[in-house]
Amino acid sequence: MRILVVEDDPDLSRQLKQALSDAGYAVDHAPDGEEGQYLGENEPYDAIVLDLGLPKIDGVSVLEQWRRGGLATPVLILTARGAWSEKVAGFDAGADDYLTKPFHTEELLARLRALLRRAAGHAAPSLSCGGLRLDPRAARASVNGEPLRLTSLEYRLLHYLMMHQGRVIGRSELVEHLYDQDFDRDSNTIEVFIGRLRKKIGNDRIETVRGLGYRLAPLAGESAEG
């Protein structure tokens, strides 16, 4: 397992490298955003530990460029900035986890293990429909290359629609697949989620077939793109 650490503080970098090596990982280190971005793009890492306050290019920008370039490697953000606005920005940029300084080394190792396990667990191929892409391995979706920001219910809904694109899917079927068995099912909320999903992926992508259900329309999207 090969891990990239992007961190500018020399002492912390030394500690991280030591701890990760001790845990059995191969570790590369980049002291600034520029080098970090280059390494991330060009070396096959299994996971990346990324600081946000970096010289040259800040961590969020580095992460955004990786994700835009299609890099699916799990990224754990390590930062002193623990406010929710900063966490949200980090996850929106494409982070998979977020750890606030000061932290315990054990916790970092545990989170990394979880990330690696998660990334290895899903081996399903990615789905596409028009400009829409969905990557079940990273649990990410994008429209025309722009990452989509979906909640898990929205993601599940899109996933199911994409797996059955072109077919009309009834509301009860959607409810069935959206919620687990032990959930109380309120079929009215399906409309709410369809509405939100339409806002995020474009209004004409999901057709309402009156009395029957919904259908993801591949052609409408493609013709709109020209």
Binding site: Q15, W84, A95, P102
Partner: protein
């Protein structure tokens, strides 16, 4: 006007008011001008009417004097009145009279020849006596009572007509009732006209002041909007006199914003600067389990971290207190937090759904709303089995309510208050570090809101946040 500004009480009335002083000034000046104009007009009318009457009296007096002759009879000289053609002077009590007389030596008049219209009456001498009627003196005009309760204007002069031994006094008199009546009518009409003009003037002034000061009231409303969070700046489309005030206000708001931003940045930088060394010290200490120095370092690093967090929160709260006119839509915040937390708790398969109307707006900063709801939702994610639900809705005028429910074990009723009051951690046993609901309570109070705990429909904990709502 009452709805603007302070309540309409005596204290408000006692303070100087632009509107009142402008109206008062215009009213007083207008009143003085109108009364003066009215008095002058009435006086002028009366004066010129009297002049006309006196001119006629004068003419008749001249005719009378010119036509009067003195004949010498054996009994002595006698004054002979002319045969005047004035028909009116023939009709009894017609209001037009003449008389030729001589002093009776006792201050009165002895009639020599009256006009026929006088019938059995005579023209009274001046009140201050006949002495002032000296030959050669200018014509004397005076008022006197006449027959039939008429008021007469009298013209009188004395002349020596030799060989008549005594001065002869000529008097002509006209009834002045018509003149007085006309004068009174004129004065009445003038009064009515001027009163109307006066009210129109005051009405006009009131209107002018209200309309003229309207931009001022508009500015007041806009500043209130900024304070209420309806707007973040005041407009700039004001008259030239108010534009500088509006731009100064905007500059002040900008400055305010800038100070808040700078403080935030500063605080964030400080956190970053301190937390990395703390991490290093902590990690270094952890590697030497049995070293007493490492133990001290670890303990002190923890204290330092708590101190840093505490002071960061205080600095942020201070910065927040200056923030004005901030608005944050609630729905996107719930969406962002749901996505973020689902990633953080992805390992456990936590599923979050949220509901909020699109036009629900929090009156305050986005960072703070994220902090408030983020902490509550994170807490719910830590304790739930699978599900968390966040719902935001309006809660009475000026407030909104965010309820976060989970399907975890919940919290016994007797512990709920203690958790909020003492700022105890709800998450002591859950993995990860965090300060739980104490931060939330502190922040919500800073916004004039509140936090309360209850039981969710799933039997877990229900946290209700009451926060200020910005008007749409």
């Amino acid at each position: 006007m009452k709805k603007r500004g302070a309540p309409f009480d005596l204290e408000t009335l006692r303070r100087p008011s632009l509107v009142r002083s402008l109206i008062w000034m215009a009213a007083v000046l207008g009143l003085i001008a109108l009364v003066t104009a009215g008095a002058a007009m009435t006086w002028f009318f009366q004066h010129s009417a009297l002049n006309r009457v006196e001119a006629q009296l004068n003419e008749k007096l001249d005719d009378l004097y010119a036509g009067t002759t003195v004949e010498s009879y054996p009994t002595g000289p006698e004054v002979i009145a002319p045969a005047l053609t004035d028909q009116a002077a023939l009709r009894a009590y017609s209001g037009h009279y003449w008389e030729i007389a001589e002093p009776d030596g006792k201050g009165g008049l002895k009639v020599i020849q009256p006009s026929r219209s006088l019938f059995d009456a005579d023209i009274k001498p001046p009140a201050d006596g006949v002495a002032r009627l000296k030959p050669g003196a200018p014509i004397h005009y005076y008022d006197s009572a006449g027959p039939n309760r008429q008021r007469l204007r009298v013209a009188a002069r004395a002349a020596i007509l030799p060989p008549y031994p005594r001065p002869v006094i000529f008097l002509t008199a006209d009834d002045r009732s018509d003149l007085d009546h006309d004068s009174r009518r004129f004065a009445e009409l003038a009064l009515i006209a001027l009163a109307l003009a006066g009210s129109a003037l005051i009405g006009g002034v009131v209107l002018q002041v209200r309309v003229g000061l309207r931009p001022l009231f508009r500015l007041q409303d806009q500043v209130a909007d900024v304070r209420k969070g309806k707007a973040d700046r005041v407009g700039t489309d004001y008259p030239v006199e108010l534009t500088p005030l509006a731009s100064e206000l905007n500059a002040l708001l900008d400055h305010n914003q800038e100070v808040v931003e700078r403080q935030r940045t500063h605080v964030g930088n400080l956190a970053h600067a301190l937390k990395t060394p703390l991490s290093v010290m902590q990690a270094e200490a952890e590697q030497r389990p049995n070293d007493p120095l490492a133990e001290v370092v670890a303990r002190q690093a923890l204290t330092m971290r708590e101190q840093v967090d505490h002071h960061l929160r205080r600095a942020r709260a201070a910065a927040r207190a200056q923030g004005l006119g901030e608005r944050t839509e609630v729905a996107p915040v719930l969406d962002e937090l749901s996505r973020t937390l689902e990633r953080i708790f992805g390992e456990r398969g936590v599923m979050i759904d949220w509901d909020a109307e699109d036009d629900l707006v929090f009156r305050g900063e986005r960072q703070d709303l994220l902090e408030l709801i983020g902490n509550v939702m994170e807490n719910a994610c830590k304790w739930c089995r699978r599900r968390v639900r966040a719902v935001a809705e309006p809660d009475g005028p000026g407030f909104l309510k965010v309820t976060v429910a989970d399907d975890g074990p919940g919290l016994p009723e007797d512990q709920r208050e203690a958790v909020l009051r003492r700022g105890e951690r709800l998450d002591e046993n859950a993995p990860g570090s965090g300060l739980g609901l104490s931060i939330v309570e502190e922040l919500a109070k800073a916004y004039g809101g509140a936090v309360s705990l209850g039981e969710s429909g799933w039997g877990g904990l229900l946290v209700e946040l009451r926060l200020p709502q910005a008007e749409a």
